[in-house]
């Protein structure tokens, strides 16, 4: 009985999400350019935040290397499209490239536990950035330009929506499956999990590759939107910082936390668009305040508020 009820719930949730996505897609024809641009940005960041949360929240792998995969995805997309391939193939290539990078470094980074893993991923993303700045065949500091035409704002919005929709649905499946239980077991006590038959490396690798592919696709979209890629923008720390800000401010969790965090970060960015240094400084300040006073983030606050309201209406 319980299995039926939960299967029903999943189906209802899936249907609900699909309806929301289709509605957004249809309505986007009437959105202003500004709304499309902002919406696209929020959706892209939400995708990255969900991917990061899968790694950190469910997997206990706090990564400061988001920029590595975003950058790889972007560069591969531009490179592949410049050789004449269409968008779908380019996206596939970008995703595969990100997965390949994840596989390549997995053996090294998974030997590291906790803090060492975090610092290791930071080193990886910095190393890639430095490498790309100096490596002339891939454009060096100037980067690469996209030869084919870039789709319009609505097209980009729909792509971002599609990516987010796919990510959300896959996340839903993942978090309701046995995989998520295994992942959390590894997070909570890797050695104990190994002793009861879980294979930590494989589980971590799956989560890592999954998250990396999403980040790579996000980067590919960004590269497509900008029509050009260069190391400071695509491998720069701002990707890591923004995702971190979203997750800390939004709270750890999927969807609601990612949504609140992304909307907050994008809004703050827009409000302080003319003062980039001030914007970042305030982001840092908010990070510190949230960690100190609201560790569950905006999502946590919202849930607490909702509970309090429910209790007061019941009483």
């Amino acid at each position: 009985m319980a299995a039926d009820a939960s299967a029903q719930r999943v189906a209802a949730l899936a249907a609900g999400l699909l309806i929301v996505f289709l509605a957004l897609a249809l309505l986007s024809g009437w959105f202003s350019d500004y709304a499309l641009e902002l919406g696209g940005r929020v959706l892209l960041l939400m995708t990255l935040a969900e991917a990061w949360n899968l790694l950190a929240g469910y997997g206990g792998l706090v990564s400061l290397g988001t920029a590595s995969f975003v950058g790889v995805g972007a560069y591969v997309l531009v490179g592949v499209m410049n050789r004449g391939a269409g968008l779908p193939l380019a996206c596939l290539a970008a995703g595969l490239a990100a997965a390949a990078l994840a596989l390549l470094v997995s053996r090294a980074v998974f030997r590291l536990r906790g803090l060492y893993f975090t610092v290791g991923t930071l080193a990886l993303s910095e190393a890639l950035r430095l490498f790309m700045i100096n490596f002339q065949p891939l454009g060096g500091a100037t980067g690469l330009f996209l030869s084919p035409d870039v789709p319009g704002l609505r097209g980009l919005f729909l792509l971002a929506l599609g990516l987010f929709a796919a990510a959300t649905i896959l996340m839903e499946l993942a978090t309701r499956s046995r995989f998520s239980i295994l992942l959390r077991a590894v997070r909570d006590d890797e050695d104990a999990a190994a002793q009861i038959g879980v294979r930590p490396f494989r589980i971590k690798l799956l989560a890592f590759v999954f998250a990396s592919v999403l980040m790579g696709l996000g980067g590919a979209l960004q590269g497509l939107k900008l029509g050009a890629v260069e190391p400071y923008g695509m491998f720069g720390l701002q990707w890591t910082v923004n995702v971190l800000a979203i997750v800390i401010i939004g709270g750890q969790g999927l969807r609601l936390a990612a949504l609140l965090g992304s909307v907050f970060v994008v809004t703050l960015g827009e409000l302080l668009a003319s003062y980039p240094a001030l914007h970042l400084a305030i982001t840092g300040l908010i990070l510190i305040i949230v960690i100190r006073f609201a560790p569950q983030g905006l999502a946590g606050l919202t849930i607490r508020l909702a509970r309090r309201l429910r209790r007061s209406t019941r009483a």
């Binding site: 490498f131 100096n134 910082v241 800390i248 990070l287």
Partner: protein, 290 residues
Amino acid sequence: MDLQTVTDSLVSGVLLGGILALTALGLSIALGVMRLVNLAHGEILVGGAYLGLYLLRWTGLDPVLGLLLIGVLMAVLVYPLHGLLLAPLSGQGLEAPMMTMFGVSIILQNAFLLFFSADTRSIDRPYAATPVHIGSITVPQIYLIGFVISVIVIVLVHLLIARTRFGRELRASAADPGAAAANGVDVRRVHALTFALGAACAAMGGTLIGIAFSFSPTSGASYLLTGFAIVVLGGLGNIFATLVAGVALGLLQSLGGVVFGDGYRELAGLVLFLVVLAIRPQGLLSGRGS
């Protein structure tokens, strides 16, 4: 590329490594005693450079002569941050303090940008560029001066930790905070002082780097990673291992620059870092196994 230039380069790397070791010492102490991954380390280092710059500009005091003062200044500036930001997080695991310091690093970077502009600066001193000749080897004077000073400070810190009461409390807090507290050690105060000491080391190293090279609001990030590379190479808990690791990294950076070109210097260091992390995360020189 003749042998002379290569040798000069490698020796410069060794000397520079000593300065880097001083900055890494700050990181190592914080990590070892407080389990704090101080992601604002690079910005504290750059802050030290700015302190040296403005000390020179406003008082005419040579930053090398005033190095201890700069260290103390930074320690004083940083000490209240521990009580304000880090102490309240003490029960919450390792990520919260790390992310808090990440926030601090972002704030500092942009504060530097706002107050000092994005211009690349350098502390202009006559001994920064003038060469000194040791036998047939030629290096800028500041490298040699910086190396000597760094080693002296490192030895002083070692003596502080090994011979004084504060040092005993520090070691006790690092080994077992609960037992230390039970024995009357004010662990929270020790942590705050450790944090300040770490910042002082970073700032002093930063001033030396500011004389030897240039710096800007965003140069901190690469020194953060170099610092971590040295900490991982040398392992935690052994101050002289940190010095050796610093020298090794400096040497490797120079090697990378000589073989691949100047832009690849830091990359060489980072790649080595990743390799060591992969093979032996507890450090090449530490005695403990994983």
